[in-house]
């Protein structure tokens, strides 16, 4: 199983700061509109997420993004 970024589309406000901070291009602008009227981000399925968590760190909205990491050996810091 690969590392995975998950976006809560109802919490995302579409500022796209996470896209600019992702070193691997895992995030993109979605084609939908959420109930707040924002166009949220979505993940690029073929991209190779390294689980660095910069998207979570740079995101201004609590709980909008989370990264699920595949590698059990590495210690993760919460962002």
């Amino acid at each position: 199983m690969k590392n995975l970024v998950k976006c809560d589309v109802q919490r995302c406000k579409g500022c796209y700061v996470c896209i600019s901070h992702c070193p691997k291009g895992c995030l993109t602008i979605d084609s939908s509109i959420n109930s707040q009227g924002y166009v949220p981000v979505s993940t690029v399925s073929e991209a190779d997420c390294i689980g660095c968590g910069m998207c979570v760190l740079s995101c201004p909205e609590p709980f909008a993004l989370k990264v699920i990491k595949e590698n059990k050996d590495r210690v993760c810091k919460s962002a």
Partner: protein
Amino acid sequence: MNTIETSSVLYTHYERKEGNQQTTHYCPGCGHGVIQKMIASAIEELGVQNRAIFLSPVGCSVFSYYYYDTGNIQCSHGRAPAVGTGVKRVLPDSVVVCYQGDGDLAGIGMTEIIHAANRGEQLTVFFINNATYGMTGGQMAPTTLLHEKTLTTPFGRESERDGKPLAMAEVIASLDAPAYVRRCAVSSTKELLRTREAVRIGLKNQVDKLGFSFIEILSPCPTNWKMSAVESRNHIEQVMKQFYPLKTFVDKRPENVCIKNNSFPLMNDDELLSLLTGDLTARSFESPVIDSPKTITIAGFGGQGILSGGTLLANSAMAHGLDVSWLPSYGPEMRGGKASVTVIVSDSSIPSPLDEKPDFLLAMNGPSLQYYKDKVKTGGTIIVNSTLVDDEIGRDDVNVYGIPATAMAQEALIPSAASVVMVTSLAVLSEVVSVFSLKESLNASLKRRELLDANMDLMKTAENYITSNFLVNNYNKKV
């Protein structure tokens, strides 16, 4: 399987918020959310959530208490460091997060932050600098950059007209006390990681009791800067950093000097009273006979001991277990100006300390007698300082007594104690307070305790004078 997500120190559902309780009230791309998530993570990591107290400022982050599952206080504009000082002194083991914007900290609350920093309070201050008054619509802040256009600087900020931007980290670093002063930014990936580190250090310093930590964070305001979220981060990197260098200004961690406990001892009411008055013996006398509230006005000029006389009377009535109010009124000069004090004593609660119609007037000089004599209630009492006053009273519905208070005080070599003579006269001539309680309260009321004996002798002289002269010789007959 590990996950990287927002700290549980923030609520996932914002019950206190109106409207959408899933998302914050911040604009898209705002720096507040980024920084508040970092602070939440640091609180969780240090394991201090149950003793963390978050001080929300006034500004966009005024509603931080929507989000933090910690103690919360919403402070008056700019006063978070003062509130934090109070919290910290009462609860030395709490972890206080002062979170302030640039308008709040550098504009309105400049006094509080400077003095809290100078005292080296055990606080962690996060100073969110977005160079504008965000909540009110983008007016110029003290930190607004030169040539930056805002609502109130439509031609751009000019140093000759508006002054130069205030670099707060440098200002705080110029003081001796702070333990940690650093400026960082939430712009690039690198700076985000540094900011996260600084936030942790700032809070850890407080846990370790190292002293005052000040973390300035350059933060984007896409809405008022009229930029996209990503553009606003580039603006910090390319423009703001030129004027606000990102670096650590002060770091006393290597010295590892743990600040001694600077809180006050906790005291109960009796201990406090004892500390402030140095006297607990003058309490709980038998209550004097008053059937309704009595208002006593002592009036004269500054230097006659007017206010102290009122304090003596009030303390004495308190010792009787009565309710008391003490309302002074005086000019800016310490000596020679108009001075008066209105003391109300009552066996029930006093609704207002204002009473323009006294039952007793102690007139220490001519002008105050003229001003107050017609206000005294019918059946009331006027005691005049007959050394200085020989005016006609012109009223036959009040009792009038003349006491040479100034002469007696001068004779005793304490001219400022003329009011003691007057208050003693009141005690002898009325039943408001007893002479005994007056004497017992003297120590607690005197500013200069070395004059206690002289004042006590003066009281005895006054008491003897009144008992031997009245009720035979009243003021009108004296002339």
